[in-house]
Amino acid sequence: MGKITGFMEYKRVNYGMRPIAERLNDYREIIVLPAQEEIARQGGRCMDCGIPFCHAMGCPVYNLIPEWNDLVYNGKWQEAYWRLEMTNNLPEITGRICPAPCETGCTLSINDSSVTIKQIELAIIENAFKQGWVVPRPPSVETGKKIAIIGSGPAGMAAAQELRRLGHAVTVFEKADRIGGILRYGIPDFKLEKWVIDRRIEQLLSEGVEFETGVHIGDDLSAKYLKRTFDVVLLTMGAGAPRDINVPGRDLRGIHYAMDYLIQSNRSVAGLPVDGEIISAKGKNVVVIGGGDTGSDCVGTANRQGAKKVYQFEILPKPMEWGESFNPSWPNWPQILRTSSSHEEGCARDWNVLTQKFTGKAGNVESMHFAKVKWGAPVAGKPPAMSVDPNTETALQVDLVLLAMGFLHVEHNKLLDELQVAFDTRGNIQTNKRYETSVPGVYAAGDAGIGASLVVRAIFHGREAAKSVSEYLGK
């Protein structure tokens, strides 16, 4: 273990961020890692717990956190990388964008600030890339089995790498023009610059993973063809169907799904052509409906585009404000007020806000009408009752409305129709513990199977599904 009394001697030092004034001028990554010595010292805060809750309950991909904390503290960066690589195919992604339930699960956070697990992870993998330790690991033997993976997001990439390394021929189909799925076009550069993904794709390519981009299965290729050509089809298409809002005025211009907005922005940041109507926040009053991470990404993007004013509304009550460094709900994810870097950049946030309608002129949205709601006491087994406070009905002048209220499930598209996979009650692709869908030889993993969730969870499911698929093929 790092240092027996490290947690008592060293204070937590997290990564820094570029100054707001500076970062608003560009889309470059905003976090700044401390010096390597500081990061190593932070590893010394790890207590090497008898039960590492960070690893066992916190981290969805079960990173071997105490092991690499110790190695980093002892300056064994390459071995740390090796241990990190054992569980996580995309640590450079999770090290940047994961909400880090490991840290809220960290045993130190019972009564102190947690170990800076996420930044240590990032430091390990970035250092590994820098040192040239991240090398392709192509299989030594080919099995001759062919696998089609549909969707190149985190689940697809993780599964592709794992399956390829086991010697299978893997083809990843992506409907967009570039690889990465939500990582590529869903997450703004200021949180995840795209070279990070490209760098990893390089490795996958060197290992022999084949990518087919711009292929819309169902339209460009038939499901039948897929099933005929490949031994297994693995669906990792994410949960792309956004939740809509059904209020009067929804069809006015200027009201968009957050993902449409973010994809456009990401494409233009990447210097790529953008289809259809340009959605820009420049000089506008922007309302983001939905208080989650996607909403937060919209806020940051809008501010960078030069929005006049940015609002973010959430229908649920404002979470508890929590000024302490420890986790009040340890080891679980605490429901507390979180302020993201995007929020810090300028945003008016409110909670208990129910959108009632949009009004506008000439088909363009001009006002958003809303009221505050009250939430009843929680009743076991039922969603809490909500009531509108009629005295609070207000209108706000808006030019752009971004709907970031989450996702329903996988997009029910033609491919799934043709494959005839069954869905669960929530509209996700129904799978069993072994990631098998109702159709033999067809597997599903990631958000497509469980609904929208964390990138890190998608990686885990991608890996696990790969194991299942390989076992199936080995029989």
């Binding site: 027996i4 008592m8 008898g50 809750f53 066992a56 071997l64 064994k76 086991l166 080891p331």
Partner: protein, 1511 residues
């Protein structure tokens, strides 16, 4: 008694009182026989009686053939006897039933005739069975004497040998004709001696055998024995003495000794026996006790031509390590014989005789008392106690005790008493052993030299590690730690990981074995403080004929320890000198052949080994070097044991040494098992390669060279081996080798029988097929196609939790749910928690997980006993203040007191302030107070303030071991309650120094019962094979409650290998205890408690059905208070403030009493619900209803499906009037206690403090004088007691054991006469004065006046002894002042406080482990430093004025109190004498004192300064 359920008679233990009386000049008389009787009667309290409260465990007497008497008796029967020495008498136990008795007699006669003897006649020994207990009478044999002569007219030794042959033939034929030992047994068969024995307590003995009352029954010696056995089912033949000895103690290495003796038979030859030697086989008669088997070998050696004392020196050699100042010839004698015979190791006081010589010997540890007196009238008495025979003080020439390893012999032909020195000098010089050794023993040059470079190939290392199943934990936590710190890593909390047989992961074969350990019936040895008695030296090679002595016998390779470096292996391979050569047998096999391949490989390894032996190879190296894709390795342990047993069976084992060269061995347990199953040495080449790799990659600290790392690692293994051996009470590797002191858990009978014969394995399990599968899983896994970084090892997860690794009972989810449940008092969350813990589908960890409850007619839950009454049966397991913080300790106490349940103080004492209730009615007082080996904080007041006193014999996480609290953890508060000095390390010794055997435990129970008559006394045991018989012994020792702890219990700090590998699950131990107690009619007198990872109501119900009435929660209860299983208790860094003394961290303690209260209530409710389903209304109804338990039928686990729980679930044999639970109470016999009288006479003093003086005559049966009286003082006046000398008691005579135990302030006990063991045990402030009778003429200061282990655990008070004390004087003294005129070995051991002044000689190892207090020793010949253990102390001259003043003062007091002439003389020459004193000063203690002084002076300075300011 036959095997049943988990009961197996092989686990029976016995112990006892032993002694002899003899006339030195050999003059036979009836008086000696009478004296023998008297001794027996006075040793009665050292024996025990059975469940019927009448049947004794056995007593007996060995005398010379009473020729006069037999002449008379035989004449009456119509046949004449020849002269004394020309005939033999067989004392034979035959069937009562006439027909079979006739057959038996015929058998004896025909054998006698066929072997050339003439039967002169039979005599039915007259007996009076009326006096016997019912149990004894029911199985009483017919006791007969057969008189016979040699037809060839042989006399003397030749006749004796003939009789020996005849007897062995009778025994063999009897066994062949299906006579059991109960039906045909020769108690003695000799022309020299005869044994009268049976199932009695002493007083019944004389009445039973009227022969002994006849005046013509004369003998010059009477050797007697009073037995205390763990069983109660009478077995007449197991009573002692045996044919030539009586034994107080236990042979721990028995299994190995038997195997080796068996193998040796093939090479035995002797001119004395000629062809008839074959008639002697088997030398060791099966079915006997350890003592009986010892007797078998002892008589062979003696009749084989060696002198009686020579034979004894071979079997029980004294320690001859470098620390002992002994003659070179004697050292050579022992070393030579180390190559001939392994020691029969274990605590032993043995009295032995061949009719003309009688003697006694003590083993090297000297853990049994043996006191002797030689009289002017030419008599010698030796016994476990002094005072067994009344001898006028004026008649005494010498009073002494046998020191460790020493012998005493009376040669009645010479008419002399021979001292140890004389005996051994003669024997060790009667052959030129030293020259023989010099010429013949092989000591390889450079062997054990500094290890050279180790070559590593990173790639193959990576593969080899996987083949041999290494995990990151093995490398990081075990190997690295051993190399860095030269010792095994320490961990904390218990082992809650799945049992090997329940694990999904492939397990190493070692993981299926559990170390056995000594508890109660024999003590563990202290491998740290008393390691000078231990030895890792051994000889390997070809043994010679045991009955011969030649120079070639020691033509063997001497290994100073058993861990061989790679260089050593090269040397061994190359060895070829004087016919000594080594051969390698490869352990590789073809992995593609599957399990059958392994079976075939073992067969061929065995055959190859045998043929190499036949070809003259003296050393076989089993090697798994060369594993690769095509070559898998036979598991090393399997290979070693298979070859060992094969060679034993073929009678060839003694012809070769076995060395194992393996990549498997990495941790101490691996080495221990390899040695324990037959290897002489181990080369862990892969561990060395790993160290080399760690060095290369910079993972070892830069200060450490690879050579040092390897040396450190080897040192760690050596220390670990000593520890494992010591746990079982074994001192030398020579006898540990092959002793098989392990129990298997999860291996099936066929497998054990074939490869590990003789190892207990009681629940079946996997066999060779699954072992092969596990081996191949590892092997193939290493070559599985993978692109992952090859250097990556699996995390492990058997110590620290890892997802997808070993299951642990406490998963992170379970902890989270449990804490939520108790904090929010939410029963539904508790349910989810319990569901998770009980779910074996996901988390199969324990045997009980596989049990299910049978269907029964349910009752309404309203009819079931309420929660409030069930919780009263719950306790929190012992956790000391010190291991856990103050807040945790007190919160547990408050919670359990609120429930009317009990918390347990643990062994760290308790602050007296906690005895006063809080204003809100809460109490911080622990209801259960523990009395553990260090006796921290144990004084009269502590004992009085408790409902239960618990003697901790063993702890689940580290049975057989002590512990230590490092100096920095000993803060002011802890030091205060433990009566220690802040900042000074505190050590708990492995053994209780007042419990070396079962009768000692009975004595401690008696002491505690005296110290608090209202408290119940409990004894904490840890489950292992045989714990049931131990429990039976404990109940016979009058314990009110027995706690059976599982192997998995928690700990504040313990070596990882002990946490993992010692002890077994409580399910087995509890079931065994229940079965044995029920069948022995003892269950009704005692309550049973169980603990060990109990977590849910289901666990409680399983425990109840298996027989427990009470249930303990350790880990779970601290988890409710916030523990999150950091497993860092030993580092003082518990981040939640539960198990730390760091004030910064203690502030973080989140626990509340309500949390524990809620938990206990949830459990109780859970229990109620299950009970309702099972139709039980009360717990009492449920206890012991094992018939309600069943095994889950659908076990499809590939390993667990082989388990067989029939022995656990067997219903005990229910005797008439038996009970499944406690229905009555122990009866305590205080009839010989004088304290009630003392209390009566002190009534006024106790009430009004008016001083009183009392006089009383005492004898050795009056035990524990003063403790009960002290309790009265403490109850009334607390620990302060009464003013000095308020109660003065003058005793005259010989005081029994524990004189002045826990004596409270204000009481003075004066003794004119002698005292036995444990004087001043736990002395709590009173004063003891002991001096010889006024009329004595011997020189008091050179004679022993008190026994062993005086002042053990004393916390205050004074003692003045005019005379010498025995071994371990003032051990663990933490506050008393003592003046004594000489002490035995190990004086002031583990002392932490107080002052000891020794005015004369000390034995060896003085001040071992002494961390506090000061001793002053008169060092007249300037050799004291050679006898002092200087590890922790410095010796200083007495120059300081304070010291001089102190010394002078106490010696003056000593003179005043005892009238010591010797001390008077010292005072007279004071200016001459005081410079000869040395001051023994513990180093840490000195520093601590200086620190305290400095702080005081600093405070003083601060004070003056402030005052100045204020002026």
């Amino acid at each position: 008694m036959k095997e049943h359920g988990l009961y197996d008679p092989i686990f029976e233990h016995d112990s006892c009182g032993v002694g002899f009386v003899a006339t030195i000049n050999g003059q036979a008389s009836h008086e000696i026989v009478d004296d023998g009787m008297t001794i027996l009667k006075n040793l009665e309290h050292r024996g025990a009686i059975g469940g019927d409260l009448k049947t004794g465990d056995g007593a007996g007497m060995l005398t010379q053939i009473p020729h006069l008497f037999f002449n008379k008796a035989c004449k009456k029967l119509g046949f004449a006897l020849p002269a004394f020495g020309a005939y033999g008498v067989g004392m034979v136990f035959l069937p009562i039933e006439e027909a079979s008795r006739k057959t038996a007699k015929k058998l004896i006669e025909s054998v006698a005739v066929s072997k050339g003897c003439t039967v002169l006649g039979w005599r039915e020994t007259p007996v009076h069975p009326d006096c016997l207990g019912e149990l004894a009478r029911d199985c009483m044999p017919s006791i007969n004497q057969v008189f016979l002569t040699s037809s060839a007219g042989l006399i003397a030794d030749a006749l004796e040998r003939k009789l020996y042959i005849v007897r062995k033939c009778i025994e063999r034929l009897a066994a062949a004709e299906a006579f059991s030992l109960e039906d045909l047994y020769c108690a003695s068969f000799s022309s020299r001696t005869i044994v009268y024995k049976g199932m009695f307590v002493a007083p019944q003995f004389a009445a039973f055998y009227p022969d002994l009352a006849d005046d013509d029954f004369q003998s010059a010696l009477a050797l007697v024995h009073q037995r205390y056995s763990t069983n109660t089912m009478p077995s007449w033949y197991l009573a002692q003495p045996f044919r030539c000895m009586a034994h107080n103690g236990e042979i721990n290495t028995l299994r190995g000794n038997i195997n080796k003796m068996h193998a040796r038979e093939s090479t035995l030859s002797s001119e004395l026996f000629g062809d008839e030697i074959k008639d002697l086989f088997p030398i060791i008669l099966q079915g006997g006790s350890d003592s009986a088997m010892f007797d078998n070998v002892f008589e062979l050696l003696e009749l084989g031509g060696r002198a009686l004392e020579h034979s004894m020196m071979m079997m029980i050699p004294e320690a001859f390590g470098p620390k002992y100042h002994i003659s070179e010839d004697k050292r050579s004698f022992y070393e030579y014989h180390a190559a001939v015979l392994e020691p029969w190791d274990g605590p032993a006081a043995i009295a032995f005789t061949n009719g003309s010589k009688v003697g006694a010997a003590l083993d090297r540890n000297g853990l049994r008392p043996a006191r002797y007196v030689i009289t002017k009238s030419g008599k010698i008495v030796l016994a476990s106690e002094i005072g067994v025979l009344d001898i006028p003080a004026g008649d005494v020439v010498e009073k002494g005790r046998l020191a460790p390893g020493k012998m005493l012999l009376v040669d009645m032909q010479q008419g002399r008493v021979l001292s140890d020195n004389e005996i051994k000098a003669t024997i060790s010089r009667h052959k030129p052993y030293r020259r023989w050794l010099e010429k013949n023993k092989i000591e390889l040059k450079g062997l054990f030299g500094l290890p050279g470079p180790v070559k590593v190939d990173a790639e193959s290392l990576a593969i080899d590690q996987k083949i041999f199943g290494y995990t990151l934990e093995d490398v990081d936590m075990i190997i690295t730690e051993m190399a860095e710190n030269s010792q095994e890593p320490v961990g904390s909390m218990g082992n809650d990981a799945a049992l090997a047989v329940l694990s999904e992961k492939p397990q190493m074969l070692y993981n299926y074995f559990k170390q056995m350990f000594a508890q109660v019936t024999n003590p563990p040895i202290d491998p740290y403080r008393e390691n000078l008695v231990m030895s890792l030296m051994s000889f390997v090679g070809r043994e010679g004929n045991l009955l011969d002595e030649t120079p070639q016998h020691c033509l063997q390779l001497k290994l100073s320890h058993p861990v061989l470096s790679n260089d050593d292996m090269d040397k061994l391979r190359a060895i070829n000198t004087r016919g000594f050569r080594a051969c390698v047998v490869s352990l590789l096999f073809d992995p593609t052949k599957g399990p059958q391949g392994l079976v075939a490989a073992i067969d061929s390894v065995r055959a190859e080994a045998e043929s190499k032996v036949d070809a003259g190879c003296s050393l076989i190296i089993l090697s798994d070097r060369g594993v690769d894709r095509e070559n898998a390795a036979v598991p090393a342990l399997l290979a070693v044991s298979a070859v060992h047993h094969h060679l034993v069976r073929k009678g060839k084992r003694q012809l070769t040494g076995l060395v194992i060269e393996t990549g498997e061995a990495r941790e101490v347990m691996h080495f221990a098992t390899l040695m324990g199953f037959g290897a002489s040495a181990v080369n862990p080449y892969l561990a060395f390669e790993i160290l080399a790799r760690l060095k290369e990659t910079g993972r070892l600290s830069s200060m450490l060279t690879l050579e040092t790392a390897i040396e450190n690692y080897i040192t760690a293994v050596k220390k670990g081996l000593l520890k494992v051996m010591s746990k079982m009470g074994i001192s030398t590797i020579r006898s540990y080798k092959g002793a098989q002191v392990f129990e298997a858990v999860g291996l099936n009978e066929d497998f054990i029988h074939e490869y590990f014969a003789g190892t207990p394995s009681r629940i079946g399990g996997i066999g060779i097929e699954e072992i092969a599968r596990e081996t191949l899983m590892r092997h193939c896994g290493a070559f599985k196609l993978s692109t992952a970084e090859p250097a990556n090892l699996d995390s492990g997860g058997s110590y620290n939790y890892r997802k997808f690794s070993e299951n642990h009972l406490f998963s992170p989810e379970a902890i989270t749910l449990l804490q939520k449940a108790v904090r929010e008092n939410d029963a539904s969350v508790y349910k989810s928690y319990a569901g998770l813990v009980n779910d074996i589908g996901e988390n199969l960890c324990t045997l009980r997980g596989l049990f299910k409850f049978k269907q029964a007619a349910p009752v309404s839950i309203d009819e079931v006993e309420p929660v409030g009454s069930i919780v009263k049966r719950f306790v929190t397991s012992a956790m000391s203040f010190g291991s856990i913080g103050k807040e945790t300790h007190e919160t547990l106490a408050i919670a359990m007191n609120r429930l009317g349940a009990a918390s347990n103080s643990g062994e760290g004492g308790e602050d007296e302030a906690r005895y006063i209730p809080l204003p809100n009615g809460d109490s911080l007082k622990s209801a259960v107070k523990q009395v553990a080996s260090a006796r921290f904080g144990v004084n009269s007041n502590y004992l009085v303030n408790s409902r239960e006193l618990q003697i901790k014999i063993a702890q689940g996480a580290k049975p057989g071991e002590g512990g230590q609290l490092p100096g920095p953890k000993v803060d002011d508060t802890i030091a205060k309650v433990r009566f220690a000095t802040p900042g000074v390390m505190l050590i708990s010794p492995p053994p209780h120094h007042d419990i070396y055997s079962i009768e000692d435990l009975a004595q401690l129970i008696f002491d505690l019962k005296n110290a608090n008559t209202d408290a119940r006394i409990s004894v904490k045991l840890v489950a292992e094979a045989g714990v049931g018989t131990v429990a039976a012994g404990v109940v016979k020792g009058k314990a009110d409650m027995v706690l059976i702890s599982g192997h998995d219990g928690g700990t504040g700090a313990s070596p990882l290998s002990s946490i993992k590998y010692a002890g077994i699950p409580w399910e087995i131990g509890l079931a065994e205890a229940q079965q044995v107690l029920v069948m022995n009619s003892l269950r009704d007198k005692v309550r049973l408690q169980a603990d060990g990872q109990m977590k849910t109501g289901r666990d409680v119900v399983v425990a109840a059905l298996l027989g427990a009435e009470e249930y303990g929660f350790g880990t779970a209860s601290v988890v409710t208070l916030g523990c999150i299983m950091m497993r860092k208790c030993h580092l003082n860094t518990c981040p939640v403030g539960v198990a730390t003394q760091d004030p910064r961290l203690r502030k973080k303690f989140p626990g509340k009493p309500e949390h524990v209260v809620n938990f206990m209530k949830f459990i109780a409710q859970d229990v109620r619900e299950i009970m309702a389903g099972l139709g039980f209304r009360t717990i009492d109804e449920m206890v012991g209803r094992v018939d309600m338990l069943d095994v889950k039928d659908a076990i499809d686990h590939w390993k667990a499906k082989g388990l067989d729980f029939s022995k656990i679930l067997a219903a005990p044999i229910m005797p008439k009037g038996g009970s499944l639970r406690c229905t009555s109470k122990q009866t305590h016999d205080f009839s010989k206690s004088i304290d009630p009288m003392l209390i009566e006479k002190s009534k006024k003093t106790l009430e009004e403090k008016t001083p009183v003086t009392i006089s009383v005559a005492v004898r050795n049966c009056n035990r524990t004088i003063g403790a009960m009286l002290s309790a009265e003082v403490s109850k009334k006046y607390g620990s302060k007691g009464l003013p000095a000398d308020s109660i003065k008691i003058k005793c005259t005579g010989v005081a029994g054991q524990s004189f002045g135990a826990f004596l409270a302030p204000g009481i003075t006990l004066e003794l004119e006469g002698d005292a036995n063991d444990y004087v001043g045990k736990g002395l709590s402030g009173g004063r003891i004065v002991i001096y010889p009778a006024k009329e004595a003429t011997f020189r008091a200061h050179t004679n022993i006046i008190t026994g062993n282990v005086n002042l053990f655990g004393a916390t205050g008070g004074e003692i003045y002894i005019h005379g010498m004390a025995g071994e371990r004087f003032a051990v663990r003294n933490s506050g008393a002042l003592a003046v004594v005129e000489g002490v035995g070995d190990h004086g002031c051991e583990y002392m932490t406080g107080g002052r000891v002044v020794v005015l004369g000689r000390t034995g060896i190892n003085f001040a071992a482990g002494m961390s506090g207090g000061i001793a002053y020793v008169l060092d007249e010949n300037q050799l004291f430093d050679t006898r002092c253990n200087l590890e922790m102390v410095d010796l200083e001259p007495v120059i300081d004025e304070d010291d001089k003043k102190f010394l002078l003062g106490v010696i003056e007091k000593h003179v005043a109190y005892t009238g010591s002439e010797y001390a008077k003389q010292l005072l007279k020459d004071w200016m001459e004498m005081y410079p000869r004193f040395v001051k023994v000063m513990p180093i840490d203690y000195k520093q601590a004192l200086e620190r305290i002084k400095k702080e005081e002076s600093r405070e003083a300075e601060v004070l003056t300064m402030t005052e100045e300011v204020f002026k």
